[in-house]
Subunit: 418 residues, 2 copies
């Protein structure tokens, strides 16, 4: 890069983080976002709820970096000291901020709740700061600027902080500092493990130019490939990364379900909507998680009609209607049963597609032939019923999530091209 690096420190305030009772996931998320914006995090600091510690940390950070991003200590209770400490550090008084008060009041009113005095005080802000609206909660954020350095204070509640960072803080930091041009291209794959993927694309990876880096970001059932390109021209970098992504098609195209931030459940939903198809679900071992993924997508009622979770044998037979002789002969975790489940739910719910899961999530219920992690999944439409047997992990939570992702991928693979 030809320009100066803009540096940041993440300062987290709260005894709970020092006592080891919660993991600080905010810091990782913020580091990643700042990195995407071309801002380099050079230090992370966590201090407890003590005025001297907090103010000391402000002073140290101000010496070290351009941007200090503070999270935590903004709640309405007495152990929350960030705001008074900031007021003291920037040498200005707390004053009721009318717009902030209106926002806090509206937040409570919209929920039919009464505004207490304690909550009202959340709208009192240091006079020398700019308020940052908190769309997801009651404690406003604060933006301080002095001698070319910026301090931003945000709540520690992850979804409140994230919304504030995305909507306001990152764009405002980009305006305030001259950051390099960084372009990211995320290629999303499903149904292939990280090491297999790495083998298949080794030659491509080794040929990447020095200003473009690759990261593997695996999660349950998915691997994201992220290209990070640094340079001067956004347009050129985008062209380069698009071309590189295109080169992956002949290598691993069948595993690529999309690009960027769009998750698999959204891609599958979009495929169903475009094809004018409807979906129903019969899920047993996944216990609602598959339906939760599907219904986490706004507007899913366009294609998703409903689910039966036949957890017990009785419900499998009486409510869903799996034939008792099939259940008795093959067991709930078997190919004949999963075929019944997918076909029946499709017929009963009168949808184009039916999908089903049945397996041993664990830790109980295993047999020598069906160890924990054995899961059958199926896809049914008017032309075919496709099944797959998965052998997942010893962990209940992981099995539930991986099986659900596998069903979404099964739908994706079995829809006809448009």
């Amino acid at each position: 890069m030809s320009q100066t690096t803009i540096t940041a420190e993440l300062l987290t305030i709260g005894d709970e983080l020092l006592y080891g009772q919660i993991t600080d996931t905010n810091a990782q998320w913020m580091s990643a976002e700042l990195s995407l914006a071309g801002i380099k995090v050079v230090r992370k600091t966590t201090v407890g709820d003590l005025e001297d510690e907090i103010i000391g940390a402000f002073a140290e950070a101000e010496k070290r970096v351009d941007i200090v991003l503070i999270t935590g200590g903004l709640g309405p209770t007495n152990d929350d000291l960030t705001k008074p400490c900031l007021a003291k550090y920037f040498n200005c008084g707390l004053k009721m901020h009318n717009e902030a008060l209106a926002e806090v009041t509206a937040f409570f009113t919209s929920r039919g709740r009464e505004l207490t005095e304690v909550n009202r005080q959340q709208a009192a802000l240091p006079e020398c700061c700019e308020k940052i609206t908190n769309k997801m909660g009651t404690a406003p954020g604060m933006w301080f600027q002095r001698n070319g350095k910026v301090f931003v204070s945000m709540p520690g509640v992850p979804h409140e902080m994230k919304r504030m960072m995305t909507d306001i803080v990152i764009p405002k930091l980009k305006q305030s500092f001259k950051t390099p041009v960084i372009v990211h291209k995320v290629i999303r794959t499903v149904g292939i493990g990280e090491s297999f993927l790495a083998e298949k694309i080794a030659a491509w990876e080794n040929a990447l130019p020095p200003h473009i880096r690759l990261a593997y970001l695996p999660s349950l059932g998915e691997v994201k490939l992220r290209l990070t390109a640094i340079g001067d021209s956004k347009e050129n970098l985008e062209k380069e990364t698009d071309a590189l992504a295109e080169q992956l098609q002949p290598r691993v195209g069948s595993f690529i379900f999309g690009y960027g931030e769009t998750p698999l459940e959204v891609v599958v939903g979009q495929m169903l909507r475009e094809r004018n198809l409807t979906l129903s679900v019969a899920e047993s071992c996944t216990g609602g998680y598959l339906s939760h993924l599907i219904t986490s997508v706004a507007g899913c009622s366009d294609y998703y009609l409903g689910t039966m979770i036949p957890y017990s044998y009785e419900v499998k037979m009486r409510q869903l209607g799996v034939k008792p002789e099939v259940l008795e002969k093959y067991g709930a975790v078997s190919e004949p049963t999963i075929i019944e489940m997918a076909n029946i739910v499709r017929a009963k719910f009168n949808t184009n597609i039916g999908v089903a899961t049945s397996g041993i999530a664990g830790p109980g219920g295993a047999t020598p032939e069906k160890p924990v992690g054995t899961v059958w999944i199926a896809f049914s439409d008017k032309d075919k019923t496709v099944t797959r047997k998965l052998q997942l992990s010893p962990d209940r939570g992981i099995n539930i999530k991986m099986a659900s992702v596998a069903v979404l991928n099964l739908i994706r693979q079995n829809l006809n091209p448009l």
Copy 2:
């Protein structure tokens, strides 16, 4: 406290933690272990792989605390700077440590691998430190002591660090310092916001003795209260914190669902199991998430039989069996409909209890009378049907989660005492 508090700082070294590519789970684990040992972590710091940064952080930490626990930067590659920085900081040379060399050699031999020169160099240690054996890997730990302060350097690989901490570092710290006893008591509440809770227990909170501190730890729908007591006798502190928790019963007892680490879905499951009751679910707006919470508990098939997710009107009528005239007259998000849903699922699935959700998760589907976040929930057993109307948030994901937690709480509140 009658004695001086022994303080510690956790110093993590490594660029990968600043770029947001991995979560630092070591720090949480170490904090919790040190807290149990009566050592108070007062700061956490993360710095990158830069000599000036690292040595600067050593000097700052030495001024602040009694114990500096360093992880990371001990690998065999060039970007690992912890060891040379420690040698420089403590002003002594690196020298091959024969015992360490024998251990590294044995580690490689036992795995049938060849010892490279790079690995051999891992046994060269600053002359002024005591070696700490690494039973799980090749980089030894180091213990430095100067003017009553202790520096410990450990690998960043979690299982190597944990074994070293448990076997050697914690016992040695307890010998080296007179540590107090620390007791934590976590009281878990649901169904009341942080600020309302704070108001209700303000008098109790203000009367806490100085050696016992309170923290509020909110998450979606829940608030944990954590008491931290410092003293000499574990038994006395446990008695004190138990008595304080007991005093909360008349104040906010109806919101307290448990203590310690057990989540609400486990507590509710245990209540159902103890009462020999079975449960079925009809969930619409929560779309499977409520069932997912219930089925995330191993062994839930003892009491949970199944779920219907009647997402569409058709499925609500044809499959679940809600009367068309009720749906038409009052709409899906209404008290008459939610009563039908809970009663019908209970009858159809032949369970003791039926619960139901129906609401506007958002962002679509709102009307002036039913804004996004309007959710009806119901509990039905043979004696009663209880409903509740919730007014949640503008966010789909939050509404799904909060409504699900609210149903679990509704079950808890409506079970008869044993």
